[in-house]
């Protein structure tokens, strides 16, 4: 591609250098020179205003006293950070966020892999099965949570009633931390497992068929094919899905916000997450300075996770696809989350 001559250059050669350049020709030249920049400028201008500037300005806000209604106050240095780091709720929120993230990503990847390998066959009505798996993706997290929080109700909830009928004791899905995390993780899994299944399926379809044939010749059964051919061949994709879900998963907000009608992460803040805490500081306690500090701290956590992931990926998948593509998938996953 790089060796090919792009059309603009050839057309500008058409103007003979000796002749005086007419107005329309000069206009044409400007057109050729400026158009590429003109076409990319909307993205850069809008991103600078609505993406980059706010992110950097968060740093500025976090160093000031800043009230939601009163606006900018005194410069306080790192006071907001030390205040936040001294709050038990902050650490609780961070712990809850990690716990929910682990509970949602690990089972999700495992189930998605199994489903993808089921779909990775010469199925009848192939499109139907693929669409069926994707169905939950179109339901807004807010709606998902309203439905699941009713199913997971502590008293007279469907799941507890079933448990009781089966002779088990009911679980306090709301009032206890770990069950609440499991319930919230279930909602995340509900919405994203099918989506990831299709990503894995695409990766599996890219595996050359002769690898399977070789395995069959060597006497591998279906299970052995799955563990010794499919899994190793899609491992880069698995890692990337995990990486991508990290960035989105650590910012989880909708599900914990809607898990009960108060939206404070429970009586004991047992399902308070970092982003929910950010909201509470900024918009309930009207302390935007501290909210900005939490935003920066969460940003730091995400960067650390990304770096760890990066090291892991490099080591495990050194022969994978170009790195730009990984980030692309990460971004899409996040933007559609």
């Amino acid at each position: 591609m790089a060796t090919q001559t792009a059309p603009p250059r050839s057309s500008s050669h058409a103007a003979a250098p000796a002749r005086r350049i007419g107005f329309s020709q000069r206009l044409g030249r400007m057109d050729v020179k400026l158009s590429p920049y003109l076409y990319i400028s909307p993205f850069f201008i809008l991103f600078a205003i609505t993406g980059l500037f706010p992110l950097l300005y968060t740093g500025f806000v976090s160093l000031h006293e800043w009230d939601l209604l009163g606006g900018q106050g005194d410069f306080v240095g790192f006071q907001n950070f030390t205040d936040v780091l001294g709050q038990a709720f902050f650490w609780k929120a961070l712990r809850n966020t990690f716990s929910i993230f682990l509970l949602s990503s690990v089972p999700q990847v495992i189930i998605a892999l199994v489903l993808a390998s089921l779909l990775h066959a010469n199925l009848r009505a192939r499109t139907f099965w693929r669409m069926g798996v994707l169905l939950p993706y179109i339901v807004a997290p807010v709606a998902v949570t309203l439905v699941f929080s009713k199913m997971f109700a502590d008293e007279s909830g469907m799941i507890n009633t079933i448990l009781t009928n089966l002779g088990m004791s009911p679980i306090e899905w709301h009032s206890q931390a770990l069950p609440a995390h499991i319930a919230i993780a279930t909602m995340v899994n509900f919405r994203w497992t099918g989506y990831n299944t299709l990503i894995f399926l695409a990766a599996m379809q890219a595996i050359p068929k002769d690898v399977y044939e070789a395995a069959v010749i060597d006497g591998a059964g279906r299970l052995r094919q799955f563990f010794s051919v499919t899994i190793p061949m899609v491992r880069p994709t698995v890692i990337f899905v995990v990486v991508t879900s990290t960035i989105g998963g650590l910012q989880i907000y909708d599900e914990p916000r809607m898990y009960d009608q108060f939206g404070q992460g429970g009586n004991d803040r047992q399902w308070l997450t970092t982003t929910l805490y950010l909201y509470e500081l900024g918009w309930r306690n009207t302390n935007l300075g501290r909210a900005a500090a939490v935003a920066w701290l969460l940003f730091l956590v995400i960067v650390i996770f990304a770096l760890i992931n990066n090291v892991l990926t490099r080591r495990i998948a050194s022969d994978a696809t170009p790195s730009t593509r990984r980030i692309a998938r990460a971004a899409r996953r996040r933007s559609t989350r």
Binding site: P36, V139, V142, Q225, T237, D254, I327
Partner: protein
């Protein structure tokens, strides 16, 4: 082993023999993807899909019952009750304006979808097919920004929107969603492969201006990828909650925000809340029925490329 598998036949007796054997065998129990699956695969997939669809059906069941029935039967009967229409009516009559919320959601999702596709196609065409100084560096910058969690910029974003007097206005939701780095990257990738230089050259030789070339040559070529990008953007903004809930407040909600208001105001009236859930899901369900095929293809293409 009763008979050698097809690859074995191919290896020992040649490709022709393998093909002949494949024709003779009825259920081809080939390797990996060629395998015709048995009932177990269909059963497992069917169970999973039924499980994924059940929460939606659960919402419908509750939306068609009275609150007393819901309180009596935590596990709803599989046959819907008779209150569906009246519950839906109650949602639309509640003091949260659901019509307005629906309209707002349609406006916001369509506006961001069109804008993202338009700007991403323009930029993607430029990056993929035009030559200019700094092209590589700028493209790398776009790709880099995809990994930035911009959601964390909400505090200043809110301050800015208040300065512009846009809090409570749909513009506050539309503006930050008008471009996505992913969109630019997606269109760049697609146009690089799908748009031959010859077409652009032909248009230029015929005297088309740069923009005319984009409009009449690049835009039609970009259509399949643009449609998928529109779908994903539309769904993402339809389901978006965090930023709209902060900046729109209670007066001018989108559907997810309206659902939160329903929950806060009527948390005892489960039937009403579930009717609201149904109302918010149905438009995307229709979209899914119409364009689910494209969604599947979009995810799988992105994955292969990505």
């Amino acid at each position: 082993m009763s008979a050698p598998s097809l690859p074995v036949i191919r290896q020992t007796a040649g490709a022709g023999a393998a093909r002949a054997a494949a024709r003779r065998r009825k259920p081809v129990d080939g390797a990996g993807p060629d395998r015709r699956p048995r009932w177990l695969t269909y059963t497992l997939l069917g169970l999973f899909i039924a499980g994924s669809a059940y929460p939606l059906y659960f919402a419908f069941l509750l939306a068609s019952s009275t609150s007393a029935e819901i309180a009596q039967n935590p596990v709803p009967s599989f046959i819907p009750g008779g209150e569906f229409i009246s519950n839906i009516k109650r949602v639309f009559e509640a003091d949260i304006d659901i019509w307005q919320a629906m309209l707002n959601s349609i406006i916001v999702s369509t506006a961001t979808g069109v804008s993202v596709v338009m700007f991403a196609t323009l930029a993607g065409y430029s990056f993929a097919k035009l030559r200019f100084r700094g092209r590589r560096a700028l493209l790398l910058f776009v790709i880099g920004t995809m990994a930035v969690p911009t959601q964390l910029g909400i505090v200043p974003l809110f301050i800015v929107m208040r300065e512009l007097d846009l809090v409570g206005s749909l513009w506050a939701v539309i503006l930050p969603g008008m471009v996505t780095a992913f969109g630019v990257f997606w269109m760049t990738q697609y146009l690089e492969a799908a748009l031959p230089y010859e077409l652009i050259e032909a248009a230029r030789v015929d005297g088309a201006s740069m923009f005319r070339t984009f409009w009449s040559v690049a835009l039609p070529a970009a259509r399949p990828a643009a449609a998928m990008l529109f779908l994903f953007t539309f769904i993402a903004s339809w389901t978006n909650f965090f930023w709209p809930s902060i900046v729109l407040g209670t007066t001018n909600p989108t559907l997810p925000v309206a659902l939160q208001l329903l929950q806060a105001g009527f948390f005892k009236d489960i039937a009403l809340i579930m009717a609201g859930v149904v109302v918010s899901v149905v438009p995307l369900l229709l979209l899914f029925v119409a364009a689910g095929r494209q969604l599947v293809a979009g995810i799988m293409q992105g994955a292969v490329k990505g």
